[in-house]
Symmetry: C2
Subunit: 253 residues, 2 copies
């Protein structure tokens, strides 16, 4: 295991116990990898995390992830020890292979509708990252809000605290990484932006409730920490290892 440190070019392969546990190649601040951590934690599937320096990748990464991206999930117990990539593909695989608790609806239509909403959340992710990374604010804030309107409307229509009902489901977890990161706006923009409490009444309640979820808590970082990392990324020197400090270590489930 990498013990939280992000492995870079020249790093030998990590020594991982031969215990059959899944191995997740991740980056501590990557929202797509975050999706897979959430699904694994929600299902209480034991796994090893191997963190990767994405600016300076270890040579052996492509053995598990042909395009050198994270997340990649190495299935060491399956025949041929294959690895999977693409956060949504991995999430759905885990939901089929480890159905307890089931995160996608069992009904094919409801499942398809949730997948469409996951796709439509890309209309939030794009402008949100324009703000986070490029500090492009005015138009992007409008685009984020327009994108979120769909989710506010959907939560109202469903009449449940979570998109998944009484508990978070796959849609909740797939959009959560960016919702968690939205708390960094305050630190990046000062008080210039706050979510409209009436316009996003249900979503704001949902955000608070998600914060109490065990799987969310497992990999949670506060807005200030996300912002601190983002500032190093904006400067072109992402400090992947900024949490690798015993006194500030992220909580590990």
């Amino acid at each position: 295991m990498s013990g939280g440190k992000h492995l870079a070019t020249g790093s030998p392969k990590p020594e991982i116990p031969n215990d059959g546990k899944l191995r997740l190649y991740s980056m501590r601040f990557c929202p797509y990898a975050h999706r897979v951590h959430l699904v694994l934690d929600a299902k209480k599937i034991p796994y090893h995390s191997i963190f990767i320096n994405l600016n300076d990748k270890p040579e052996w990464l492509t053995e598990y992830s042909p395009l050198g991206k994270v997340p990649a999930l190495h299935l060491v117990k399956e025949e041929g020890k294959p690895a999977l990539i693409e956060s949504l593909v991995i999430a759905e695989y885990l939901d089929e292979r480890y159905p307890e608790p089931k995160l996608f609806p069992s009904d094919p239509l409801k499942k398809a509708q949730d997948k469409i909403l996951i796709e439509r959340f890309n209309a939030v992710i794009g402008p949100m990252y324009k703000i986070f990374v490029n500090n492009e604010v005015p138009g992007a804030i409008t685009d984020v809000s327009t994108g979120l309107d769909i989710f506010e409307k959907e939560l109202r229509a469903r009449g449940t605290p979570f998109f998944g009902g009484d508990k978070p489901g796959m849609l909740d977890y797939m959009i959560w990484p960016w919702c968690e990161r939205s708390a960094m706006l305050k630190y990046l923009l000062g008080d210039k932006y706050e979510m409209d409490k009436e316009r996003f009444e249900k979503l704001l309640k949902w955000r608070d409730l998600m914060g109490e979820d065990e799987a969310v808590k497992c990999f949670y970082l506060d807005g200030e920490t996300h912002a601190k990392f983002m500032k190093t990324r904006r400067e072109g020197k992402p400090n992947y290892d900024m949490l690798v400090n015993p006194s500030k270590r992220q909580r590990i489930c």
Copy 2:
């Protein structure tokens, strides 16, 4: 029904018999919509096609497709008569809701691996459309070939005529629309490009076999016809209705 004609701004909603059949909003030359035609035809699910002029969309399209895109599949028999968008979401929904014949592998791992290959085919689609639409040839041809190497290697490893085994499966159908359209290169580029017969031995055999498949034949157009449409698109005036001529009408299954 639209009778093949592409409905444009100002067109009234088409009059479709109230027979409970699925309604597919499509465009005759759209490769993403083509994916859904293939799945519906492979499963012999009866449906109505409504063709849309994507340059000049009818006002009512957003009732079925909030972003005004095709494909959109209107499920008139389901409660609330919902519509689905996104070709891959629709394809997987149809595979779950109408499992005969099953197109994705039943094994979650094999299914995930096929989905990853569908995602990786985007590395072929991007440069292919640079050639089709923008006539950007040299680098794009190399990128297409590099992308296809993965599929050639995969077919060799599987040792079956189709990615799905002895018959086409979901992966075959999801990549087919672009493979069918690759036959237009000859008409767009002259003899400047031909696929390397050794490098792509298995893929070329696969392409011939796919051409014999009943579902493929249902919606098939030859390279010359695809190229003719593409030329009108290049000129900024896509002739959506170029096949709406009884003597040249596409075969309808």
